[in-house]
């Protein structure tokens, strides 16, 4: 028989929970979401010994159990809900040896919930350098817990942690603080109203929404029944609780913990003098960004070319292997290029996440937040919007999720609303092919026009984000609380394992999520292009043959004419034709219209859609780019000329063409109002700028 036990890793942000998690589980992990919300849920398993298996849960960082954000409320809800399948048998509180005092605040709260609690003091490798000494046995006794000194960097202490987990039944669950000492009257009354219940648990349930309101509060049982005191009073009590806890902790640490400041070498101030210098700090940040973008485009090109040609081979190969027909076309011309269109971005996405996770792991990102806060506040954003804006160049979905640590709701909402303007990697394939079609591959003073255009598109995206942010800032009437607190962590060398796992996870989920949509759309598109209503579609062959009776068309040419006619009268063709009058002033024909419509689900579909449309229409074996170049208007001129190309690029730069982003915005803002506004206004902006550009240039 194998015993299963639930272990939850809890701790302040940045104390190394995820590192401990990685050390325990390796690659045996699964990242999902908590139902209904987008907080990442990381679960993994670890074999403790022959008969015991632990299910490990990595929880988001929290400073205390007084939740003030959605991330934090996840932790509280889990700990208060005994019926949750993930309810921990053991709580492992991960702390940072350098900030032990502050970390113990959370530890004492969790211990008071009477859950078996293990104290992990992480980053033990830092003790010598920082001159820290701890009397471990005494501390263990005073806190009435089991304590392990761990360094995930040196991989020490992890085995001992496993041993303690196996023997979790022997961990004491005695509370540390008596709630009556916070406010005698209040807690006595509470005890009378609810006899036989843990006072502290009751208190936690009551104060759930003092600092943070979530709609799904009913998840916590019994929480709505008692409303004894106004919020301001409860907040006072919460503060008193914190003060009491700190008193207890200070007392304990005075006897067990010492820091010799002399021994501490001060890397922090040396690096801070440079990185947050009022002038050089900005220069350095700008240079880092420049290097990141340079590398993303330069280093990625080799693997990208490789992926590109591999997919072309696979596509050819399916064509020769499968019986020819429209299904083969779907696979070889729709699905495979469509999937290729995602896979090709793996190198760029992976590089971007690599850099972001290194910047975060080293502690540099907080310095950027500090530097940029005031400037961004002018636009209604926060210093913390920097991370979403940078991540947005990979994909808006993780970017929207990264806004979660912005405390102020107005600043957070504005960030969420403008982030989709940044040029995400799904726009790249569209931009690349359009640029190569309409912008000459020439150089002026050594600068390549095509590269310059691409850079311009990135800049336009950022500018549009800032401009719309300040407009929103003007017109959104929301209270602005300015609760901006950023911890400035120590500088650290990044842990390679953490970086690798982050990059792997983020990239994988991007490919899977985007892949599903692309596949679904290519199949839908194929159906809509292969079937149509009424006479015209079913009798296409007759009609066309009659029409060209007198002209001497060869077999292939006639077939093409028939296919064209069929497409025009298929469901998708009718749809494209219907919107044609609307998009004609932008310089598009009905086939581009089809690509446009399908791109509203995901913009990277654009090329796949055109590939499917053109291959349904013709049989010739050409690359998609050649086909696009060969498309003509009624007057015989090229369809993809400069005005149309620019107009399309602007449309794709500004339009909100991503279902997944809309879905995530809905989740994060808890209403359809904001994604609808986003969809509507971004489409209008896209349409107008494309219209103006085309009308001026044509």
């Amino acid at each position: 028989m194998i015993k299963n036990l639930n272990v939850a890793l809890i701790g302040n942000p940045n104390t190394g929970k995820t590192s401990v998690f990685n050390a325990l589980t390796g690659l045996n992990q699964k990242v999902g979401n908590y139902p209904g919300i987008t907080v990442e849920k990381k679960q993994g398993s670890c074999r403790l010994d022959r008969v015991t298996k632990a299910k490990i849960l990595d929880l988001p960082g929290t400073y205390s159990l007084n939740a003030s954000s959605i991330d934090e409320s996840v932790v509280v809800e889990l700990l208060l809900n005994k019926n949750d399948p993930d309810f921990p048998d053991v709580a492992v509180v991960v702390t940072d040896v350098e900030n032990l005092k502050r970390n113990l605040l959370l530890f004492t709260q969790i211990k008071d919930l009477e859950i078996p609690t293990v104290l992990v003091i992480n980053m033990a490798d830092q003790m010598r350098r920082k001159g820290i000494k701890i009397e471990l046995e005494k501390l263990e006794k005073k806190l009435n817990t089991n304590l392990v000194l761990v360094s995930t960097r040196l991989n020490s202490g992890v085995e001992k942690l496993k041993q303690i987990l196996i023997d979790y039944k022997s961990i004491s669950t005695l509370p540390i603080l008596d709630p009556n000492t916070i406010d005698q009257d209040y807690f006595e009354n509470l005890g009378k109203a609810f006899p036989n219940q843990s006072l502290y648990k009751l208190w936690m349930v009551i104060t759930q929404d003092v600092n943070f309101t979530r709609l799904e509060r009913q998840k916590v049982p019994d929480s709505t029944q008692f409303k004894t005191q106004p919020k301001s009073y409860l907040k006072k009590l919460q503060q008193r609780e914190i003060i009491k806890r700190y008193q207890t902790i200070n007392q304990i640490l005075k006897e067990t913990y010492s820091v010799n400041r002399e021994e501490a070498t001060d890397l922090r101030s040396k690096l801070d003098n440079l990185f947050i210098h009022k002038f050089w700090g900005y220069v350095i940040f700008f240079l880092i960004l420049l290097i990141i973008f340079q590398v993303i485009f330069d280093w990625s090109s080799v693997p990208m070319d490789f992926i590109d040609s591999s997919f072309a081979h696979v596509s050819e190969w399916t064509k020769t292997l499968m019986p020819s027909g429209i299904l083969t076309d779907l696979i070889s011309e729709g699905v495979i290029p469509g999937l290729g269109g995602i896979v090709i971005f793996i190198p760029q996405i992976a590089f971007l996440f690599l850099f972001i996770s290194i910047l975060e792991e080293t502690g540099y990102m907080s310095r950027v937040v500090f530097l940029m806060d005031r400037g961004l506040r002018k636009f209604g954003l926060s210093g913390k919007s920097v991370v979403p804006l940078i991540s947005g160049t990979a994909c808006a979905i993780p970017a929207v999720m990264a806004t979660r640590n912005i405390e102020d709701w107005k600043e957070r909402l504005i960030t969420i609303l403008v982030v989709p303007f940044t040029t995400c990697s799904a726009r790249l394939p569209v931009f690349m092919i359009l640029i190569s079609l309409v912008i000459p591959n020439d150089r002026l003073l050594g600068i390549n026009y095509q590269g310059l255009t691409l850079m311009g598109l990135y800049l336009i995206g950022f500018l549009m984000a800032l401009v719309s942010a300040s407009i929103l800032n003007r017109f959104l009437k929301l209270p602005n609380k300015s609760y901006f607190v950023v911890e400035m962590p120590n500088y650290k060398l990044p842990l390679l394992k953490n970086v690798a796992i982050t990059v792997w996870e983020k990239t994988r989920s991007f490919v899977v999520e985007a892949g599903k949509i692309i596949l679904a759309i290519s199949i839908l598109l194929w159906f809509m292009a292969s079937f149509g209503p009424g006479e015209k579609f079913s009798n296409a062959e007759q009609i066309v043959t009659q029409q060209y009776e007198n002209e001497a068309f060869e077999g292939l040419e006639l077939e093409n004419k028939i296919a064209s006619f069929k497409l025009e009268n298929s469901y998708i063709g009718i749809l494209g034709k219907t919107i044609e009058p609307m998009i004609l002033p932008l310089g598009y024909d009905w086939k581009i219209g089809i690509a446009l419509i399908t791109s509203f689900a995901a913009r990277e579909v654009f090329i796949g859609a055109l590939a499917t449309i053109y291959s349904v229409e013709r049989e010739a074996e050409e690359t998609i780019k050649k086909r696009m170049a060969g498309e003509t208007r009624n007057d015989g001129s090229r369809l993809f000329n400069l005005p149309t190309g620019i107009s399309l690029m602007l449309f794709y730069a500004f339009a909100m063409q991503c279902m997944s982003t809309l879905a995530i915005v809905k989740k994060e803002t808890n209403s359809w109002k904001w994604p609808s506004i986003q969809l509507f206004s971004m489409t209008v902006i896209a349409y107008l700028s494309a219209l103006i550009a085309y009308q001026i240039l044509k």
């Binding site: 003060i243 907080s366 405390e407 300015s482 609760y483 950023v486 911890e487």
Partner: protein, 77 residues
């Protein structure tokens, strides 16, 4: 005694009182409590935000919040 945002960079002080209604609880949890030592380490341009060391914690807050923290400077000795 004066508000924290008037502290000189590099200066150390002791927190005298806080206007709790205007401070996020998180700040209090990080050790922003009367009696604790506080020092202003750096500031961004225009003295906003402020980079502080409170007790053991290194953190940054905005000037408008700093106004609600009253401090008494420690004499250098």
């Amino acid at each position: 005694m004066f508000p924290l945002d008037q502290l000189v960079i590099g200066q150390k002080a002791v927190i005298e009182s806080i206007k709790t209604d205007f401070l996020p609880l998180k700040l209090i949890e990080m050790g922003c409590l009367p009696g604790n030592e506080i020092s202003l380490l750096y500031s961004a341009p225009y003295r906003d935000p402020l980079y502080l060391k409170i007790d053991e914690a290194h953190l940054a807050i905005r000037k408008e919040v700093a106004k609600y923290i009253m401090v008494k400077p420690l004499m250098d000795d």
